[in-house]
């Protein structure tokens, strides 16, 4: 099981890296799906099968597919892919990589600074029903809020997609 974790971790890292650095949006999204699947495996190994399933069904299956639809809707073609490549030349990555490396170093220092205290109980696989009880027990207000958030997202999305050109929203360098 431990070995499976490290394999999944390696896959997740590699796939995520490619997802972030790939010039083609569709390829990038497919790499991200791979990364999510690897994460789902890790969740399973950590004893959370229900969440692992959700990761696959909702994240990979719904959210990323939504991305794919949009990308296809926008007809991002070969020319734009070339432009995309010019945007992600290695020089561009220097600053962000350094910033991220510093952040990673800081986080690693925090994580490895002292070993975590011993757990109260041995890790146990939790059943979906436990999660459900937790959600509708102590977290019921948070569930309500999450519902509101989803509603707000729904309204926002349906408002933003309206094809209203009367609102000027022009960036620099656009044709007038």
């Amino acid at each position: 099981m431990t070995l499976a974790f490290y394999i999944a971790a390696a896959v997740a890292l590699a796939a995520t890296f490619r997802a972030v650095t790939h010039a083609d949006a569709v390829h990038s999204l497919l790499y991200f799906i791979v990364s999510l699947l690897a994460a789902a495996v890790i969740f399973y190994i950590l004893g959370a099968p229900f969440v692992a399933a959700l990761e696959i069904i909702i994240y990979a299956g719904a959210i990323i597919v939504l991305f794919l639809f949009v990308v296809m809707l926008l007809h991002i073609g070969r020319g734009q892919r070339r432009e995309e490549r010019s945007w992600i030349r290695p020089r561009v990555w220097v600053g962000p990589a350094m910033l991220s490396a510093v952040l990673l170093a800081a986080t690693v220092t925090v994580i490895t600074a002292e070993p975590p205290p011993a757990p109260h109980a041995l890790p146990q696989a939790t059943a979906p029903s436990d999660v459900g009880v937790s959600l509708f027990g102590p977290y019921v207000v948070a569930v309500q809020l999450a519902a509101l958030l989803l509603l707000a997202g729904l309204v926002g999305a349906s408002h933003l997609r309206r094809h209203d050109k009367s609102i000027p929203l022009r960036a620099k360098g656009d044709p007038p």
């Binding site: 600053g95 962000p96 910033l99 991220s100 510093v102 952040l103 800081a106 986080t107 220092t109 925090v110």
Partner: protein, 629 residues
């Protein structure tokens, strides 16, 4: 009858509103007659009130009319209430009657002036403010009138503001009187704090309970009141503004700077005499100020070459007599002199105005002369006015009022022979400069052609005032002449009588009257001997005398001294602070705010990735702080 009291100040104010709002739509003549009527009706009313007070006095010899509650707090209550008693009635009657006559005079004198309407608007506003001042039931309302007359004085001195000197004179008058006003304000604060009321009658009633006689608080209150009074009444050392105030039109000089406003200080002290009686030391200071001012004013009047400045210094000097009387506790003598002075000084100013108009606005005494034949009416009325001013015995009102002051000063517990000598010397000097003025203006050779003779209205006013100046003294005679005490009897219910006549001193009164009369005639004789030819006598050209004349001409260097003491340091300070050091702090705040704004504004690049990077940098910073500490 007394319910109509509110009309007395309200009508002039209404007149002001009508004329000011009417503007150019109102014909000039209509504006003039509105102004006259707005003062004439109150004049008639006040005469009716005076008759009522004389023959059927109201209960308590006072009538209070509460108009509305103006300021009502727990600790201070100031009602807009008018109080009519003998003191305020005397003032009201003089203000409205003399004011009415001067209004009539002005309709002719100011004819053809481009700002004829504005003049009458200001004049009415002045009368309204002055009446509020004298009728006020409490100190706060009194202050409203006090500041109102100050404002009108400023506006009317600078009436012809196109000329720089006039505007400067107006400013000077305003600033100098304001110095006194600050003292008055402090006095009001002090009295309200100590007695817990702003009502003047209540203050006078409570003062003996609150203040011990001669205590520091009583002295402070009286001194502060005196400060306000000397500012308004142009007494030493704040007398410098009055001669310059002659820059205003002559009717203004007659009304404001001779008859009414400058006597507000006298009225204030008489009104609050109860406080002064508790501060005998301050009473002495009042008498001292009056004595010094009357001598100084008389000497300065002797050396002036401008006819209006002669009259201005003589006003300063006569106000000095009133202060001397107040300092001696001779309240009714001061008010009596105020009344006669209002008539004859208004007469003199109006006569001087007629002379000035007749001579193409020539005001220099040395370019006048020989007007006796050309302006006989002006000559005779002016002569009567001068005789009153010089206190020619028996026939003039000025004699009775001035002699009453001198006599009261001698016998008063607060006065004494020393003050009598100062007053008698002043009487001699007054006779001297009066003779000089008349000789230079009306005798000798004519030096300027007469271009215009006074019209019907001017002549009428001059005659009326001349008659009153002659007979006005009849209401109060020395007891050795006849027992006529109308005036002091009238006031006795309002002011505390301090000066009691000791029995068996009639010989002294006769003696003092005789000496004073001799001094007056001596002054006239000396003046006539020197100026008979209408020319300055040769003695003036001697070096020492000339220097003294120059000093007196310049008002004894008070202006120069104040210039050195106050104006120069102030302007030097202002010049040193030209870059406005204090403002730098404020400007620095604005500058640093702008700097910070620019810095923060630069971070708002509008670029999404830049924002993400700053968030990340912030997270790193927080982590670093958490790790390193």
């Amino acid at each position: 009858m007394y319910e109509l009291l509110w009309l007395v100040p309200a009508l002039p104010f209404a007149g002001f509103l009508v004329i000011a709002a009417g503007g150019r739509r109102l014909p000039a003549a209509a504006a003039g007659w509105t102004g006259c009527a707005a003062v004439g009706i109150p004049a008639a009313l006040s005469l009716v009130f005076a008759a009522g007070f004389l023959f059927a006095p109201p209960e308590g010899h006072a009538h209070t009319q509460v108009l509305w509650t103006w300021i009502g707090t727990e600790t201070l209550r100031a009602e807009a209430a008018l109080r009519l008693d003998a003191l305020s009635l005397t003032m009201t009657a003089v203000i409205t009657v003399v004011g009415f006559l001067i209004h009539i005079y002005s309709t002719e004198y100011m004819r053809g002036d481009a700002d004829f309407r504005r003049f009458f608007a200001y004049l009415n506003l002045f009368v309204a403010a002055m009446l509020v001042l004298v009728l006020a039931d409490n100190l706060v309302l009194l202050l409203l009138g006090w500041e109102g007359v100050g404002l009108c004085s400023f506006l009317l001195i600078g009436f012809w503001y196109g000329k720089r000197e006039n505007a400067m004179a107006a400013r000077k008058a305003f600033l100098v009187t304001r110095t006194g006003d600050v003292a008055l304000l402090l006095a009001i604060f002090l009295l309200v704090r100590e007695t817990g009321t702003a009502n003047i009658a209540d203050i006078l009633a409570r003062a003996p309970e609150v203040f011990a006689e001669g205590s520091a608080t009583a002295n402070a209150a009286a001194l502060l009141l005196l400060g306000g009074a000397i500012g308004k009444s142009a007494q030493l050392p704040l007398q410098v503004w009055l001669p310059d105030a002659m820059a205003g039109p002559t009717p203004v000089s007659a009304l404001i700077h001779a008859a009414t406003m400058v006597t507000a200080g006298v009225y204030l002290i008489a009104r609050t005499h109860g406080v002064f009686l508790l501060a005998p030391d301050v009473m002495f200071v009042v008498a001292l100020v009056g004595a010094a001012t009357l001598l100084l004013g008389a000497l300065a009047a002797l050396a002036q070459s401008d006819i209006k400045r002669v009259l201005a210094y003589s006003t300063v000097s006569q106000l000095g007599y009133m202060f001397l009387a107040l300092g001696a506790g001779a309240w009714s003598a001061a008010m009596f002199h105020f009344m006669t002075h209002a008539f004859f000084k208004a007469l003199l100013f109006l006569g001087a105005g007629a002379v000035i108009t007749a001579l193409h606005h020539e005001q220099n005494l040395h370019r006048m002369g020989g007007l006796r034949k050309k302006l006989p009416l002006v000559f005779w009325t002016f002569l009567i006015g001068t005789a009153c001013l010089a206190a020619v015995p028996l026939v003039t009102s000025g004699f009775y009022s001035k002699e009453k002051i001198l006599w009261d000063v001698w016998i008063s517990p607060y006065g004494g022979p020393g003050f009598w000598i100062a007053g008698a010397t002043g009487a001699f000097l007054t006779a001297l400069y009066c003779t000089r003025m008349v000789a230079l203006v009306f005798f000798g050779e004519a030096k300027t052609e007469v271009s215009e003779r006074p019209g019907g209205r001017v002549s009428f006013v001059l005659v009326v005032l001349a008659v009153w100046s002659l007979i006005g003294g009849g209401v109060e005679l020395p007891h050795t002449f006849a027992h006529v005490k109308v005036f002091s009897g009238f006031l006795a219910h309002t002011v505390t009588t301090v000066v009691e006549l000791p029995p068996g001193l009639d010989w002294l009164l006769w003696l003092l009257l005789g000496i004073a009369s001799v001094l007056v005639f001596g002054g006239i004789a000396v003046g006539w001997a020197l100026y008979r030819g209408g020319e300055p006598p040769p003695i003036l050209r001697r070096a020492g005398v000339d220097a003294a004349r120059r000093g007196a001409h310049g008002g004894f260097g008070f202006d120069t001294a104040y210039d050195l003491l106050f104006v120069r340091p102030f302007t030097a300070l202002a010049r040193a602070n030209r870059a406005d050091i204090v403002d730098r702090a404020a400007a620095g705040t604005a500058y640093s705010a702008r700097l910070l704004h620019n810095i923060l504004s630069a971070t708002q690049s509008g670029r999404l990735r830049w924002y993400s990077a700053t968030i990340a940098a912030g997270v790193i910073l927080i982590l670093a702080i958490a790790l390193l500490t």
